[in-house]
Amino acid sequence: MTINLGKTPVTLLPEFGVLLPNSKTLVLADIHLGKSATFRTRGLPVPEGDTAEDLERISAMIQRYSAKQLVIAGDMVHASDGLTEYTLSSLRAWLSESSIPVILTEGNHDRKSFLPELKLERVKSFLVEELRIAHEPKDLPKESPGIAGHIHPSYRLKDTARSSMTLKGYHLCYPHHLVLPAFSHFTGTHSITPARGDRFISVTDSQLHEIPLRFA
C-alpha cells in the first residue's frame, strides 16, 4: 500500500517497515536488539533466538525491495545489559556484511545503552527526499512531513460488546506524519487514541488493512 506524506510516496510494507520508492530507502523503527539478552543477564531465563531472526528479517527486506539505504528510526538496541558479546558480535557482523549504508536516528534506548562505535551513521534526525526521520514524533517539525517510531502504535478494535482485538500497525497522524510499528516481535504496543483525520493501517498475518477509526 502506498500513501503520500506531503508529496513523497511511501510504501507501507507488511514486514513492519516502509520503503520510499523514489530513493529506495528502507525505514524501520524500534528493533530492540538484545532484548532477550537483557532479561538473561538480569537473571530471567528468556531464550535467545530473536537477535539472529530480526537481523535476518532485515536482510531479507533489503534484498526483496532492492533497498539502497536503511534508516533505523531509533531504538535499534534495547538496553546496555542486552549488549552482550553475542548481541554486539551479531550486530557487527551483520553491519559489516551489509552492502548498503545504515543510518540510525538515535532513540532513547540507544542513548541510554551507550552504544559503542559501529559501522553506521548516527544522527539525531535524518532528511531523505522531503521527509524528516526521527525517533520520537514530537521531534518532527509540525509543518513538514516526516516519519517516526517510539510509540509502537496499535489500535483496539471492538468486534462485539465483549471482545476486542489489538491490532499492531501504522499510525498516520494527520496531516503528514507517519508513526511506524515496532519492528521487533518481542515488544509491547501502545494503544493509540486517534485524532480526526488520522488513519490506521494494521498488519496481521503479513496483510495490510486500513481500519475504519472511531474518533472520540
Binding site: 532484548k35 532477550s36 539478552a37 537483557t38 532479561f39 538473561r40 543477564t41 538480569r42 537473571g43 530471567l44 531465563p45 528468556v46 531464550p47 535467545e48 533466538g49 530473536d50 534495547h78 538496553a79 545489559d81 542486552g82 552482550t84 553475542y86 462485539t160 460488546a161 465483549r162 516481535h185 518481542f186 515488544t187 509491547g188 494503544s191 472520540a216
Partner: protein, 813 residues
C-alpha cells in the same frame, strides 16, 4: 498445662472444651496435627497454649532478658491474610501480657514497615505471626536458620484457604525446609470442615510418614439459622440478576432490626451498587454504613474494620474480603446477596455473626433471581447433613518449585542432590520425575540444554553447591516472592494524595476526564489519568456514572451444591423457598419436564433466530463452558452454519439458524469421551487460554517482574507482557515445561477437566429425556437471555428481554 496458664484459665472462668484439652495433650506427646472446629470456639488457644506451656515448663515464668533472647523464635503463626495478622497478634499477646511473661510476640507481614522488619530480623520474637510469603522471604536470609534453631511449632491458620492453591504449595515447601532444619518441629493446622480432610492434611506432614499426626475434630456444631428473603412477586422467567436491587427495601428493614450487619455480595461491582442503594434509602445512616472490598486502599479498609470491631457501624457492604478470620463480635446478622455458589462459603459467611461460643450465627439470603432460592434451600440441606465441598490438591506445579529453589539457595548454598532429597519429602513433589527435576535445575542455572540461553545464570554451582551471588538477582527475587498474581492496577487518588484504592486499567481508559463513576461508595469525577494513577475529585453535581467492573471471574456453583440443587428441583420439599418457586417449576414441568440427577433433560425449540437446544447437566458453569464448546464443535463439524453457545450453572444452550435436532444417537456421540482432550483443544482455543494462564505461571516462576508504581525504575527494561513471553517461548523453546504447565492448568482449572470427564461418564449412563418445546421454558430462558445480553448493547438487550418476558408471562397464564 503449666500451672500459671491453668490458673489464668480459671481466673477467666473459662471451661476448656474437650477438643482443646485433646489438642494440648497431643502436642505434649510430641504430635503434629490438624484441628477443625467451628469458628468462635477457641481454636487459637487450643493450638497456642500447648507450645507456650512447654516453654514455661522448661524455663519457668520468670524469664530474664538474657534468657528471653536466648530462647529465640519458638512459635511461628502462619496466617493466609495479612489483615488477620493484627487481630491474631492481639489474641496471642493476651496470655503473655496477663501473666507478665517476658516473651515477645510480634508480626511481620507485607504491611510491616521496613524499619520494623529489619529490627525483627535482628532479633526474632518468641512468637512470630506472619504470612507464607513473608516467611518464604525470610528463608532467603542466611542467618534465618540459626535464628530458628529453637523452633518448636508452626501453626497454620485457615489451612482450608491455602489447600488446593499455589500458596498452599508454597506453605508446604516452606514447612519442608523448616523441618529439614529442625526435624523435631511440630506442625499444627487449623481448618474449617472440608469434604476431604484426610487428603487435605497430606501436605502438612513429611511424605510417607504416618506417625505422630493427629486429626482432632471438635464435636461441636455451631448454631446457625439460614433464612431466605422471599420476594413478594415472583417472575416465572428467572433471569440472572433480574431482581437486582428490587429487594433493597426489605433488606433495609432487616438492617434496622439488628445492631450490626455484614452484607455480602459476590462481586466488587455489586458492593458499590448495593452501598449506593442502601444510602439512597437510608440517608440518615450515611455515617453508619461502610463499604469494604479488596480494591479499596489498605487504610480505608483498616478503618472500616476498626469501626466494625468497635460497633460503630450498622452495616458494612462487603465481598469475600471479609470472609475470613477477623473477629467482629458486634456483628449479629449476615445478609448474603445472591447465591454463595458453595456450601462452605455460605457457612463461612454465616459464621461471621455470633462469633462467640454458644451464640447463634444468622444469615439471611437474598436472591437476585428466583432460581437462587433453590440454591439457598439446597445449601441449607447440605449443611444440615454436613456435606461440605472438597478441595483438590495441586499436581506438582513447577513454577512454585523453581521459585522456591531459588529462595532456598539464596539463603543457604546447597548441593543439587541434597536439595532434591529435601524436596522429595514434600507430599506435592514426592513423585517428581527425573526429567522435571532436571528441567527445574536447568531453568534456574542455564535455562536448559536444548534451547539457547547465552549469558543466563540465575543460580550457579560453586564448590559443588548451588548458589546465587548476583546482588541484583537476589533483590529482584525477594521482590518477586509469592504466588499471588494481580492485574496491573491503576491507583485512584485525590489530588491531595489520599489513595482510595485500585481499579482495572481497561475501565479507566474508557473514561474521559470529567466523567463520573462510583467507587469506594463515592461518586467521583475523573480529573486526569496519567501513567498508573487516576486522579479524581468528589463529583459536585450528579450525573450518570458507571460502576466499575473488576475481572474477578464469576464463581461456578460447586459440584456438591449443583447436585443438591438438581435433587431439590426434581423432588421439591415443603420449605418456604421451594414453595415460592413452585409456580416456576410447574410451568417448567407442564411445558417440558423437570431436570433431575437421574436423567439428562434436553430441550429443543424454535424461535425467530433459528433453532435452540438446551441441556441441563447441573455441573457448574466452568464444566458447562467446556461441554458447550465440545458439543457445539462435534455437532456442527459437518455444518457450515456457526453455532452460538451460552452457559450457566445449571446447563448450556446451542443456537443455530438450522440443523439442530433431538437425534439421540447424534447427541450420545457428542457426549462421548473419545478424543476428549483433542477435541477440546480444537474447540476451546486452548492455546489462547493457555497463553493467558501463562501470565500466572511466568509471574510465579520469576519471569515477570512486578511493576511497582513509581519505584524500581531500574527494572523498567524488564517490563514485558506475558503474551509476548509466551510467544518467545513458543518460538524458540517450545518444549519448556512452563508452557506445558500453563496448558495443564487451563485444562484442570479453567475447564475443570476431571469434573468434565466425570460428567461425561455420568451422562453416558443416564437415559436422555428429549423434549420438543413450543417456546422457551423457565429453565431455558436465562440461557437464552444471556446470549442476548452478550451481543446487544445493554439498553437494547433489556428492552428485548422485557418484551420477551411479557410474552412468556402471558402465555403461561
Amino acid at each position: 498445662m503449666h500451672k500459671s496458664l491453668s490458673d489464668w484459665i480459671k481466673k477467666k472462668k473459662w471451661k476448656p472444651f474437650q477438643f482443646q484439652k485433646d489438642t494440648w495433650q497431643s502436642f505434649r506427646e510430641g504430635n503434629s496435627g490438624v484441628l477443625h472446629a467451628p469458628t468462635g470456639f477457641g481454636k487459637t488457644l487450643a493450638v497456642y497454649l500447648g507450645p507456650l506451656s512447654e516453654t514455661l515448663d522448661e524455663h519457668g515464668t520468670e524469664i530474664s532478658d538474657k534468657e528471653s533472647k536466648a530462647l529465640g523464635c519458638q512459635i511461628i503463626w502462619l496466617t493466609p491474610l495479612r489483615a488477620l495478622a493484627n487481630d491474631t497478634l492481639n489474641a496471642l499477646q493476651e496470655p503473655v501480657k496477663c501473666l507478665g511473661l517476658n516473651l515477645n510476640v510480634d508480626a511481620r507481614t507485607g504491611d510491616t514497615s521496613s524499619y520494623r522488619k529489619a529490627k525483627l530480623r535482628e532479633q526474632f520474637p518468641y512468637c512470630l505471626v506472619t504470612t507464607p510469603e513473608s516467611l518464604s522471604l525470610l528463608l532467603t536470609y542466611p542467618d534465618t536458620k540459626e535464628k530458628l534453631a529453637n523452633l518448636k511449632c508452626v501453626i497454620i491458620d485457615e489451612w482450608h484457604e491455602l489447600i488446593g492453591n499455589k500458596r498452599g504449595v508454597q506453605t508446604e515447601l516452606v514447612l519442608t525446609r523448616l523441618r529439614h532444619w529442625n526435624p523435631s518441629m511440630r506442625t499444627w493446622a487449623l481448618s474449617a470442615t472440608l469434604g476431604n480432610i484426610d487428603e487435605a492434611i497430606l501436605p502438612l506432614k513429611p511424605s510417607g510418614s504416618e506417625e505422630g499426626f493427629e486429626t482432632i475434630t471438635a464435636d461441636l456444631k455451631k448454631k446457625m439459622v439460614i433464612n431466605t428473603l422471599i420476594p413478594k412477586r415472583m417472575e416465572s422467567f428467572p433471569w440472572s440478576g433480574h431482581i437486582g436491587t428490587r429487594l433493597a427495601a426489605d433488606v433495609c428493614r432487616l438492617l434496622e432490626k439488628k445492631r450490626t450487619t455484614l452484607l455480602f455480595t459476590n462481586t466488587r461491582a455489586q458492593t458499590e451498587i448495593w452501598y449506593q442503594e442502601i444510602l439512597k434509602r437510608k440517608p440518615d445512616w450515611a455515617d453508619l454504613i461502610a463499604i469494604h472490598h479488596g480494591s479499596l486502599s489498605k487504610q480505608d479498609r483498616a478503618e472500616v474494620e476498626q469501626k466494625l470491631k468497635q460497633g460503630k457501624v450498622r452495616c458494612v457492604v462487603c465481598t469475600s474480603s471479609l470472609d475470613l478470620g477477623i473477629d467482629f463480635s458486634p456483628v449479629d446478622q449476615v445478609v448474603q446477596i445472591g447465591s454463595p455458589k458453595g456450601i462452605a462459603r455460605l457457612i463461612q459467611r454465616a459464621g461471621r455473626s455470633g462469633h462467640r461460643p454458644g451464640q447463634t450465627s444468622r444469615i439471611t439470603c437474598v436472591p437476585t433471581n428466583a432460581l437462587e432460592l433453590i440454591e439457598f434451600a439446597a445449601a441449607r440441606d447440605s449443611w444440615e447433613k454436613s456435606e461440605i465441598e472438597s478441595r483438590q490438591l495441586l499436581e506438582k506445579p513447577l513454577d512454585v518449585l523453581v521459585q522456591h529453589l531459588v529462595t532456598l539457595v539464596i539463603g543457604e548454598p546447597m548441593s543439587v542432590a541434597k536439595l532434591k532429597k529435601e524436596i522429595l519429602t514434600s507430599y506435592t513433589y514426592r513423585n517428581i520425575k527425573v526429567k522435571e527435576w532436571k528441567w527445574a535445575i536447568d531453568f534456574i542455572t542455564n535455562g536448559g540444554a536444548l534451547a539457547a540461553y547465552p549469558q543466563y545464570e540465575k543460580a550457579k554451582i560453586e564448590k559443588g553447591k548451588l548458589t546465587v551471588t548476583d546482588k541484583r538477582i537476589i533483590q529482584l527475587h525477594r521482590m518477586n516472592i509469592g504466588t499471588i498474581t494481580s492485574d496491573s492496577a491503576i491507583l485512584i487518588k485525590y489530588a491531595n494524595g489520599h489513595t482510595l484504592g485500585t481499579i482495572e486499567e481497561n475501565f479507566i481508559t474508557k473514561l474521559k476526564p470529567g466523567k463520573q463513576f462510583v467507587f469506594a461508595g463515592k461518586r467521583l469525577e475523573l480529573v486526569r489519568f496519567y501513567k498508573l494513577t487516576a486522579t479524581v475529585k468528589n463529583a459536585t453535581k450528579k450525573m450518570k456514572g458507571d460502576v466499575p467492573s473488576w475481572n474477578g471471574g464469576r464463581m461456578p456453583l460447586s459440584s456438591e451444591l449443583a447436585t443438591a440443587v438438581a435433587g431439590k428441583i426434581h423432588t421439591p420439599d415443603e420449605s418456604r423457598e421451594m414453595k415460592a418457586v413452585m409456580p416456576i417449576l410447574n410451568i417448567q414441568s407442564k411445558w417440558s419436564a423437570l431436570p433431575s440427577i437421574d436423567t439428562l433433560l434436553i430441550e429443543h425449540t424454535r424461535s425467530r433466530e433459528g433453532e435452540h437446544m438446551f441441556f441441563y447437566p447441573f455441573a457448574g458453569r466452568l464444566v458447562h463452558e467446556g461441554l458447550a464448546a465440545l458439543v457445539a464443535y462435534r455437532m456442527t463439524r459437518d455444518m457450515s452454519d456457526s453455532v452460538h453457545v451460552t452457559q450457566n450453572d445449571y446447563g448450556f444452550s446451542l443456537t443455530a439458524r438450522s440443523g439442530l435436532n433431538l437425534n439421540e444417537d447424534l447427541i450420545r456421540a457428542c457426549f462421548s469421551t473419545k478424543n476428549l482432550i483433542d477435541d477440546l483443544q480444537k474447540c476451546m482455543n486452548t492455546a489462547e487460554l493457555a497463553r493467558r494462564q501463562f501470565r500466572e505461571v511466568a509471574r510465579v516462576a520469576g519471569l515477570i517482574v512486578p511493576q511497582l508504581p513509581g519505584k524500581h525504575r531500574k527494572s523498567r527494561d524488564l517490563q514485558v507482557s506475558a503474551k509476548l513471553l509466551y510467544e518467545v517461548f513458543q518460538r524458540y523453546d517450545s518444549d519448556n515445561l512452563l508452557i506445558k504447565q500453563a496448558s495443564d492448568e487451563i485444562l484442570t482449572k479453567q475447564l475443570e477437566i476431571n469434573r468434565l470427564k466425570k460428567t461425561l461418564d455420568e451422562i453416558s449412563k443416564k437415559p436422555l429425556e428429549l423434549k420438543e418445546t413450543e417456546r422457551l421454558t423457565p429453565m431455558a430462558f436465562p440461557l437464552w437471555a444471556d446470549r442476548l445480553s452478550a451481543y446487544l448493547p445493554a439498553g437494547d438487550a433489556v428492552t428485548r428481554l422485557e418484551k420477551m418476558l411479557a410474552r412468556l408471562q402471558k402465555e403461561s397464564q
